[in-house]
């Protein structure tokens, strides 16, 4: 086994009252991309934290051999010295500092504590070139997009002369183009002899780029697959992750499309800080009862902005447009009016926009319709508990009781709480913004079933998602949005990934052609 760079043997890690990892084995060959797959809570991140010394030696059982040496890392500094770097899901960059300052954070180019900025900048330019970035190193991090920030993180790891690079969900926040760029870069790093471990929920990317896959489930190693030799595909990976066959990734659904529910006509929105910048321009779309309509677009295309603007003008300033529900014109100026009119907007990013993490499940579920649990003008907690228990049961929220804090729930269950919160407002139309982001395959399936049930009950659903297969699997019709303009309306039959992607990038190309 000369070729093995990393070998973790019999790793067991306990948190008070729970075993996060049990007798986990991981072998990684030099110069490969090794993916780690598993549902949320399977122990992937914990395993990587053991490896990188964030969970220090002594807090776990088992042995780690890196380059044939037994490692007992007491902290991240020691693992970095050995050549292991980790890039976390939440990027560890400081927005107000420049690229060069971030690149050498904790690893400054300095003699006796005095930084040599000339040398640092020169080194930074070289590192940025290696990751394919042509930004000025003095640019502040907050002024570059999330895709480029991810590349800066990679460059930061390269600055530490990394031998083994761990990436935790590197493409979770990226659009397809940025993801593609990053994956190409990772491919290039592999050819330069850097070994990569990648945790990802995006199975298509894993299938495409990785050499081996180790699957974890409930804190145990299930299997290690050789992608090329065994001809592994997504369904095979899912089978390993969930321990059962998923005949269909998406639940079967026969739509019963009814009356016209919501019509949006010539909707335009300008940026809140810049009146001359149109974020959404003359968008027209409609949703019928019983229908699931998709809204596809790259990041920054204006999907969320359009949804929020419809939802009581909670983003930017609307300059034109009309809204009709059941044929009646609506004039919504505040979120509360939109809720009263039967609209619901299930936010993306449930932790920062959807939930108050101090709350219990029951308080979260009623938080958008506190008025409905009043009795004699007082908030009646018994009514609240009854309502919350209903959604806990209907949506299969896994919790000890509705008194449990939402902060302690897994991502999938938090998402169900957010859905329950909006269902409790009694909406006719639900706008779902990235409803399955960052949640595991099993929970995704449950969320899809809930969405289908909502449509079957005669409501309309407008679904925003960055995952095209998800839109294709679920929606009856899909609108594509590019640079704030609706570029196409594609029926379920006509839709495929290539068609959608072409329309999602159309505006840009056309405008470029016009300029030249």
């Amino acid at each position: 086994m000369d070729n093995t760079i990393l070998s973790m043997k019999g790793i067991t890690k306990k948190f008070p009252g729970v075993k996060a990892l049990e007798d986990v084995t991981l072998n990684v060959r030099r110069g490969e991309i090794h993916a780690i797959c598993g549902e949320n809570g399977a122990g992937k991140s914990t395993l990587m934290k053991v490896l990188s010394g964030i969970h220090p030696f002594g807090t776990y059982e088992g042995q780690i051999f890196f380059e044939d040496r037994l490692c007992e890392f007491k902290g991240i500094r020691e693992s970095e010295r050995a050549g292991i770097a980790i890039i976390h899901q939440e990027l560890a960059l400081i927005p107000e500092l420049s690229i060069v300052e971030n690149l050498f954070q904790g690893n400054e180019v300095a003699t006796h504590g005095v930084i040599n900025w000339y040398e640092a900048t020169a080194k930074a330019t070289e590192l940025l070139a290696r990751v394919g970035l042509s930004e000025n190193p003095d640019t502040k991090i907050k002024n570059i997009g999330i895709g480029k920030q991810q590349l800066v993180e990679v460059a930061k790891a390269l600055a530490k002369e990394v031998k083994l690079l761990i990436l935790d969900e590197p493409t979770a926040a990226l659009n397809d183009a940025d993801s593609m760029h990053l994956l190409n870069l990772l491919d290039g790093l592999r050819h330069k002899g850097i070994t990569l471990i990648m945790i990802s929920h995006k199975l298509n990317e894993i299938e495409q780029i990785s050499d081996s896959i180790t699957i974890l489930r409930d804190g145990r190693t299930i299997e290690t697959l050789d992608v090329k030799a065994q001809g592994i595909n997504e369904d095979r990976i899912i089978k390993g992750m969930v321990g059962r066959d998923l005949d269909h990734r998406y639940p079967p659904h026969e739509p019963t499309v009814g009356e016209m529910l919501l019509e949006i006509k010539d909707w335009s929105v300008v940026h809140p800080d810049d009146d001359s910048r149109y974020v959404v321009h003359d968008a027209s779309l409609n949703i019928r009862r019983g229908e699931i309509v998709g809204l596809a677009g790259l990041m920054g295309a204006g999907r969320t902005e359009l949804a929020r603007s419809i939802f009581g003008q909670s983003y930017g300033r609307k300059t034109s447009g009309e809204l009709f529900k059941d044929g009646q014109a609506l004039h919504l100026k505040r979120v509360s009016q939109a809720i009263d009119a039967g609209l619901a907007y299930v936010t993306e990013d449930r932790k920062s926009l959807g939930l108050n993490l101090h709350d219990t499940i029951k308080v979260s579920i009623t938080s958008a319709a506190v008025k409905d649990i009043r009795h004699n003008g007082m908030v009646d907690e018994n009514l609240e508990t009854v309502a919350a228990n209903k959604y806990r049961k209907d949506l299969n929220i896994k919790a000890s009781s509705v008194e449990q804090g939402v902060a302690t729930l897994s991502g999938g269950n938090q998402q169900k709480v957010v859905l329950g919160k909006w269902m409790f407002t009694g909406p006719d139309l639900l706008i779902l913004d990235e409803p399955t982001r960052g949640i595991d395959v099993g929970s995704k399936y449950e969320i899809y079933e809930i969405i289908n049930r909502l449509a079957d009950s005669g409501r309309g659903v407008l679904m925003i998602s960055s995952e095209l297969p998800e839109l294709l699997g679920l929606c009856d019709r899909i609108y594509t949005l590019s640079e704030g303009v609706i570029t196409a309306e594609v029926s379920r039959e006509q839709a495929d990934q290539e068609t959608l992607m072409r329309y999602m990038t159309q505006g840009k190309n056309q405008r470029k052609a016009a300029q030249q």
Binding site: F15, P16, G17, V18, A20, N40, G41, G43, K44, S45, T46, K49, H55, T59, G75, Q89, G219, R308, G312, S314, R334, V335, S336, A338, I339, T347, S352, L353, G354, L355, N356, L357, H358, D359, T360, V363, S367, A368, V370, K371, R374, G377, M378, V379, D380, E381, N382, T385, K398, A399, S400, S401, E403, Q404, G405, A407, T408, S410, N413, K421
Partner: protein, 444 residues
């Protein structure tokens, strides 16, 4: 890692059930225990002087204004703001009211109304800047601190302005005694008994409501114990007051405010919205909460209560003085944080803040009874504030059953569970009702 097994449905041990019946809030529970321990300590150290009826009465009279401010301050802090101007505003309102009575011969009941109106206007002024212009409350109220102190000094012109006797009653007066001479103050005894009866009725109604909705009803023994414990405390306190001059007027004002604001924060839509704005204002806004209005109302309310506190303090000193109200804001803020509020907002209770204020008040009075140097009292108060909040921070680290464990985990923070792969709460700690209940201010 199933969540299902993470915490039991109901606490199992008797102690845990009692705790849950008491509100399940470990922090408040701890502070009440600390308060009782402090009282017992001073009782011993002063050879029984501390719980003399006269001393207990002065505890209320001397701290009334801080407790009133703490009620407003906890709501400001729950909303995620702070108010540094309350001392200056209190002084400004006190001076306005005193001058209106002395120079313009306005009758004192009308002057009180004037004081309330001025408080509301000041609150609206600051609320406008905070809520609708979007300037951080720290800056707005720092400006207010200077602004209203300046106006106060200009009006008083370095002199004290006395207030009439009728007005002094609101701080120094007592409810008049009626009925036969029993050696005790009759209305006070009567009110104490009525309060206990009210507690019992409320508890019974709560049980009935639970039964009506087919939810678990705690055993009767728990309810009886709860009412008996609180009832005993109320009666003891009432008896102490009754053997001196009865309930002071300021005590009555305070009781009324506590009742009203506990109701507002716990039982109204406004209260719910207040907590959601403080906990996550973006999420609240997208849930239809008018966040600006909440911010505005909270500041208006703080102005109103600053006015009340200012008038109580002016009445207490029988005059409005130039240096009135200096440092009040710090006492109120300290009371709120000792009482379990979070600096970042979203967490805190009216009752907790009152307990926090009483801890400070008991320290002040007890140490003064012991003739401790007032400078040293400040040192002790500072340390108490620091330790109370430190205790809170450490006890928030999940799954540590003992205090020693908490201290250890504070040193070893890196081993705490990761946010992305949520680790269920420690079942060992759950029976004591710890893991979730404490992070929700409104779990009752």
């Amino acid at each position: 890692m199933s969540q299902e097994t993470s915490a039991p449905d109901a606490p199992t041990s008797f102690v845990a059930q009692v705790r849950q019946a008491m509100g399940g809030n470990v922090r408040q529970y701890g502070m009440i225990m600390a308060l009782l321990l402090l009282v017992a300590l001073f009782q011993v150290l002063t050879d029984g002087l501390f719980l003399e009826p006269r001393n207990v009465t002065s505890l209320l009279v001397q701290n009334g204004y801080v407790l009133i401010l703490a009620i407003g301050m906890v709501m400001v802090i729950i909303a995620g703001h702070i108010d540094l101007s309350v001392g200056s505003v209190a002084a400004f309102v006190g001076a306005t009211v005193a001058i209106s009575m002395q120079r313009f011969d306005i009758p004192w009941p009308l002057a009180i109304v004037l004081g309330l109106v001025v408080g509301i206007i000041v609150g609206a002024w600051q609320g406008f800047w905070v809520a609708y212009v979007g300037i951080p409350a720290f800056i707005v109220t720092l400006a207010g601190m200077l602004l209203f102190r300046g106006l106060d000094l200009m009006m008083l012109n370095a002199a004290s302005v006395g207030v009439p006797e009728g007005f002094q009653v609101i701080a120094n007066g007592f409810i008049p005694d009626i009925g036969p001479n029993t050696g005790y103050h009759n209305p006070t005894l009567l009110l104490s008994i009525l309060l206990v009866v009210l507690l019992a009725v409320l508890e019974l109604r709560k049980r009935a409501a639970l039964r009506k909705h087919q939810m678990d009803v705690p055993p009767m023994s728990i309810s009886i114990l709860k009412v008996a414990l609180i009832g005993a405390a109320v009666l003891t306190f009432g008896l102490l007051l009754a053997s001196y001059k009865g309930i002071p007027v300021v005590g009555l004002i305070l009781a009324l405010l506590i009742a009203v604001y506990t109701f507002v924060t716990r039982k109204t839509v406004f209260g719910r919205h207040l907590y959601s704005v403080g906990g996550n204002s973006l999420a609240a806004g997208l849930s239809g909460v008018n966040t600006k209005r909440i911010d505005f109302m909270v500041m208006v309310n703080m102005g109103l209560l600053s006015g009340v506190a200012g008038m109580v303090f002016t009445a207490y000193l029988n005059a409005a003085n130039p240096k009135d109200g200096v440092g009040f804001e710090l006492d109120a803020i300290a009371a709120v944080f000792i009482g379990g509020a979070a600096v970042a907002g979203g967490i805190g209770t009216v009752a907790g803040s009152i307990v926090g204020g009483l801890v400070m008040g008991v320290l002040n009075l007890g140490l003064a009874n012991l003739s401790v140097d007032s400078n040293f009292i400040q040192v002790i108060k500072g340390l108490v504030l620091l330790l109370a909040v430190a205790f809170d921070v450490l006890s928030k680290v999940q799954g540590r059953p003992s205090f020693i464990g908490m201290i250890m985990s504070g040193m070893n923070r890196t081993s705490s569970p990761t946010p992305t792969e949520v680790t269920p709460p420690d079942p060992q700690a759950s029976p004591s009702g710890k893991p979730d209940s404490k992070i929700t201010a409104d779990s009752h």
